[in-house]
C-alpha cells in the first residue's frame, strides 16, 4: 500500500498499520471531556475492530502519548511511546482544546505522523479549515454513527497522505 508524502515515510507505516492489521488491531486514542461521548466513541471503534484508549482531556492524552510535561526530560526513553495509530479528539474541551492538542502532536517529532481527526458538535467552517490547515486528517460532526467510522477508515485508506 503506497501511502506516503515526501516528508513522512512513517505516516505510511501508521496508515498501513491501521489498515493492514495482520495480528494487531489498530490502536486508537479517543479524547473527549464528555463521559457519554467517550463511551460512545469507544463502542463505535471497538465495533470496527480497533483497540481503544480513551482520555478525558488534552493533558492526559499527551501523557499517554509520552508527550506530557514530565516526559520532556525522558525524551530518550522511547519505551513509553505508545504505538497509537490514530488520534481522534473532540474540539471543544475546557483548558486545552482539540486544536491545541492537535498542534502539540504536530510539533512532536515522534507523534507528528500519527493521523489526528477532530470531532465537533458544531459545524463552523473557520474552525474546520483551521484544523485541517494545522494538519488534521479529517473533521467529523458529532454525534458520530457507525457509518462515520466506516467513512473514516475509508478516508484514511484512500488518502494520499
Amino acid at each position: 500500500m503506497a501511502i506516503s508524502t515526501p516528508s513522512s515515510a512513517s505516516s505510511g507505516s501508521s496508515m498501513a498499520a491501521l489498515m493492514e492489521n495482520g495480528d494487531q488491531l489498530p490502536h486508537v486514542l479517543a479524547v473527549d471531556d464528555s463521559v457519554i461521548d467517550r463511551k460512545l466513541i469507544e463502542k463505535l471503534l471497538k465495533n470496527s475492530s480497533c483497540k481503544v484508549t480513551t482520555a478525558e482531556n488534552g493533558p492526559r492524552a499527551l501523557e499517554f502519548l509520552g508527550l506530557g510535561d514530565h516526559d520532556r526530560h525522558n525524551s530518550l526513553e522511547k519505551g513509553n511511546v505508545s504505538k497509537v495509530n490514530l488520534i481522534i479528539t473532540d474540539y471543544c474541551m475546557p483548558g486545552m482544546t482539540g486544536y491545541d492538542l492537535l498542534k502539540k502532536i504536530k510539533e512532536s517529532s515522534v507523534m507528528r505522523e500519527v493521523p489526528v481527526v477532530i470531532m465537533s458538535s458544531e459545524n463552523v467552517p473557520t474552525r474546520i479549515s483551521k484544523c485541517l490547515e494545522e494538519g488534521a486528517q479529517m473533521f467529523m460532526l458529532k454525534p458520530l454513527k457507525q457509518s462515520d467510522i466506516k467513512r473514516l477508515k475509508c478516508h484514511l485508506m484512500n488518502s494520499g497522505n
Binding site: 464528555s34 463521559v35 457519554i36 461521548d37 463511551k39 460512545l40 463502542k43 463505535l44 465495533n47 471543544c92 475546557p94 458538535s121 458529532k142 454525534p143 454513527k145 457507525q146
Partner: protein, 152 residues
C-alpha cells in the same frame, strides 16, 4: 398471541411513539444498533450515564443562575455540554430545548434562562420515565422468553 409477543408489540409501539412524538431521534436507534452480545446493556449504561451527567449539569446551571452576578458564559458552557450529550443519545427534545437557552445566555436574559432551565428539568423527568418504561418492557419481554435479537 403469547406473552412474549404481546410484550414485544408493546415495546415496539412505545418506542415508535417516543420517536413520533419527538422524544427520541435516529441517534437513539443508532445506539441500539451498537448493542450486541459483548455489551448487552450498552444502551441502558449510556442512558444512565446521561441522566447522572445531566443532573450535575442542571444543578450547575441552577447554581450559576443564582449568583448575584450571573456568569452567562459559564451557564452557556454548561448548556453547550448538555446539548452535546443530549444529541449523543438521541434526546431530541432536550437537544432542541438548549437552543433557546443558549440564545438567552447570549442576550444575558436571566428570566429566559430560568424558564429554559425549568423546561429542561421537566423534559428530563418525562424522558427518564419514558425510557424506564421502555427498558422495563424489554426486561419483561426477555423474562417471558423473548429473543433479544427481535429488539433491534
Amino acid at each position: 398471541m403469547d406473552a412474549a409477543s404481546q410484550l414485544l408489540k408493546q415495546w415496539s409501539d412505545h418506542l415508535q411513539r417516543l420517536c413520533q412524538e419527538g422524544f427520541l431521534d435516529d441517534q437513539f436507534l443508532q445506539l441500539k444498533q451498537l448493542q450486541d452480545e459483548d455489551n448487552p446493556k450498552f444502551v441502558v449504561e449510556v442512558v444512565s450515564l446521561f441522566f447522572d451527567d445531566s443532573e450535575k449539569l442542571l444543578s450547575n446551571m441552577a447554581k450559576a443562575l443564582e449568583e448575584k452576578v450571573v456568569d452567562f458564559k459559564q451557564v452557556d458552557a454548561y448548556v453547550h455540554q448538555f446539548k452535546g450529550s443530549s444529541a449523543s443519545i438521541g434526546a431530541l427534545r432536550l437537544k432542541n430545548g438548549c437552543i433557546n437557552f443558549r440564545n438567552y445566555c447570549e442576550t444575558q436574559n436571566k428570566e429566559g434562562c430560568l424558564r429554559c432551565l425549568q423546561q429542561l428539568k421537566q423534559e428530563c423527568y418525562v424522558l427518564k420515565d419514558n425510557l424506564k418504561a421502555l427498558f422495563m418492557l424489554e426486561q419483561q419481554y426477555v423474562a417471558a422468553g423473548g429473543s433479544i435479537s427481535k429488539l433491534s
